[in-house]
């Protein structure tokens, strides 16, 4: 069963002079196992939208149902929330316990799992995020490096085996190697746990790599929703919104402008290289 978002509208400080509508009439379905990339300018409503997905905020109008659980209903919300794992941007907002092990087990404990199951899940989650159990399990989360903290925070959510994994800019503030590592990790979880991933990012390159569906938000409304091919062929519109299309799409666009005959649906480096190799090969033969 999917996450169904129906006609979601949210206004902050509704009724006051400072009223601000962050989301307008959003309808969207996220299917099982799907990888959805959510992009938009700062203030486009991305954060508000993902907080609605597991009932951390309630919309002024419309509703979200997670596998049939109505997130507007207080009793059903807890059940729906257990299915949606949410990783916030800053690990500093969630790490609190004495050791990495205890911190990761916080979520599973809240799910009232038994000791054995918790232990199994913590080890599994640490393995998935690439934290060596013997080295890190007994360390304090506060003495970790930035990248290690993020892995720990991620493991804390993974250990809950969410059916939907929501990630708010999981790569913010990481170096290129760290970004790649996190992206690979996310692909790993998906393969091993079969969860759906909803990832918010500024970086189109990161989204182009693995998303199956891309949603572009603009001023609280869905500007476009479609496959990466459909979205990234709209380079000019994206750029007008202040978003940078993926490198490969920009490169291909520039080459097309200079008279090179390249297909319009190139948005990953691999596809660009392949297309260029074909042209070059053709020219020489």
């Amino acid at each position: 069963m999917p996450i169904v978002i129906e006609k979601l509208t949210h206004t902050y400080q509704n009724g006051s002079v400072n009223a601000f509508t962050a989301l307008k009439d959003i309808s969207l379905t996220i299917s099982d196992g799907e990888f959805v990339g959510l992009i938009g300018h700062t203030g486009s409503g991305k954060s508000t939208l993902i907080q609605m997905l597991n009932g951390l905020m309630q919309p002024t109008e419309g509703r979200v149902t997670v596998d049939g659980f109505d997130m507007n209903d207080k009793k059903q919300r807890a059940k729906g929330r257990a299915l949606v794992g949410m990783v916030f941007q800053y690990p500093d907002h969630q790490l609190f316990d004495e050791t990495v092990y205890k911190d990761i087990s916080f979520g599973p404990k809240n799910m009232k799992l038994n000791e054995e199951e918790i232990d199994k899940r913590v080890r599994e989650a640490m393995r998935l995020v690439g934290l060596d159990f013997d080295e890190f399990a007994e360390k304090s989360p506060f003495e970790l490096s930035g990248g290690e903290k993020r892995r720990t925070a991620l493991a804390g959510i993974i250990a809950m085996y969410p059916k939907y994994l929501v990630l708010d800019e999981p790569m913010a503030g990481l170096d290129p190697a760290g970004r790649r590592a996190v992206l690979e990790m996310i692909d790993d979880f998906r393969r091993q746990l079969g969860c759906a991933v909803i990832m918010v990012s500024h970086s189109m390159d990161d989204i182009a790599r693995s998303a199956e569906k891309v949603v572009v938000l603009r001023k609280g409304e869905i500007f476009r929703c479609g496959t990466p091919q459909e979205i990234f062929s709209l380079s000019d519109e994206l750029r007008e919104m202040g978003l940078e299309p993926p490198f490969a799409a920009r490169m291909a666009g520039e080459l097309r402008r200079r008279g090179m005959d390249l297909p319009k649906d190139i948005y990953t480096n691999e596809a660009l290289v392949k297309a260029l190799a074909e042209i070059k090969g053709g020219a020489h033969v």
Partner: protein, 285 residues
């Protein structure tokens, strides 16, 4: 959920009261408080309240804002009134039934307690409504500066106040984020007895404290890198200036205070109040 709390309720308009030197306003408030406490006569008190309303009108702050400041006392005021009404037994007896006795002294005392509290709180709130927190601490620092002779750290105290005020909204916002991060991990903050709930607050308080310490560290570094080394020899961007308006305001207040003292000394209306109350209750004729 914390975002709706507004603190430092400065009301930004331009008015003669807003333009007064913060030092003047603090002194005015002190004189006003003295005045409220020495008034022993209902008619003179009407004069004080009238003066208060006049100041509010001058400040161009809507009266509803001042009244809002009294609202939190909506339980305290009736309790104080009733306690004084029944407990104070001076003057002539107005009413007696079983263990309840109401006396003229009680009515007087009860009325005065309520009026005093209202006058004090509305006066103090007028100060915070017309003065920004920054200029308020600045005024306080200058007023307390004579204490530097006895090595009292006046500047440090004022700087701490300014920083504390500055970071209240930041802390509230962060508490909100941490709370959401832990709720997403299945933290249960609402159920259970008081001990359970206190324990459930730990995952929120620990990151909040850790981040505050880190932030304090960073702030100290940022201040030092801009050559902050305490109050010694520090100049100001806006130098407080004692203007003609300040002098006028202080003179008016001094005149008020003198008038109140003289009126009380030479025109004792006390018996009239007793008669008024008796007439009101329709007894003791």
């Amino acid at each position: 959920m914390f975002k709706d709390i507004t603190l430092g309720q400065y009301f930004p308009v331009d008015s003669p009261v807003h333009r007064l030197d913060p030092r003047t306003k603090i002194i005015l408030l002190i004189m006003y408080i003295v005045m409220v406490f020495i008034v022993k006569d209902l008619w003179v008190f009407a004069l004080v309240i009238g003066f208060m309303l006049f100041m509010t009108a001058m400040s161009r702050v809507p009266l509803s804002y001042v009244i809002k400041a009294i609202k939190p006392m909506k339980w305290l005021l009736p309790i104080m009134f009733l306690l004084n009404l029944f407990m104070v037994r001076t003057g002539t007896e107005l009413f007696s039934w079983k263990f309840i006795t109401i006396t003229t002294g009680g009515v007087r005392q009860a009325l005065f307690i309520v009026l005093r509290l209202v006058a004090l709180v509305s006066g103090a709130s007028l100060l915070t409504l017309t003065t920004t927190p920054v200029s308020l601490t600045e005024g306080l620092e200058r007023l307390l500066s004579p204490l530097k002779i006895v090595r009292f750290p006046v500047h440090e105290l004022a700087m701490m106040m300014t920083i504390a005020l500055r970071f209240i909204p930041t802390l509230l916002e962060e508490a909100d984020k941490i709370m959401k991060a832990q709720l997403a991990r299945g933290a249960d903050l609402e159920n259970g007895n008081i001990f359970k709930r206190a324990k459930a607050m730990l995952p929120i308080l620990i990151p909040l404290f850790v981040n505050s310490f880190r932030r304090a560290d960073e702030l100290a570094l940022a201040m030092e890198s801009r050559c902050y080394h305490g109050g010694e020899g520090r100049t100001r961007l806006r130098v407080l200036k004692f203007s003609r308006g300040d002098l006028a305001a202080l003179l008016i207040m001094a005149a008020m205070l003198t008038a109140v003292i003289l009126l009380q000394r030479f025109l004792p209306f006390d018996h009239q109040i007793a008669a008024f109350v008796k007439g009101l209750l329709g007894v003791g004729k």
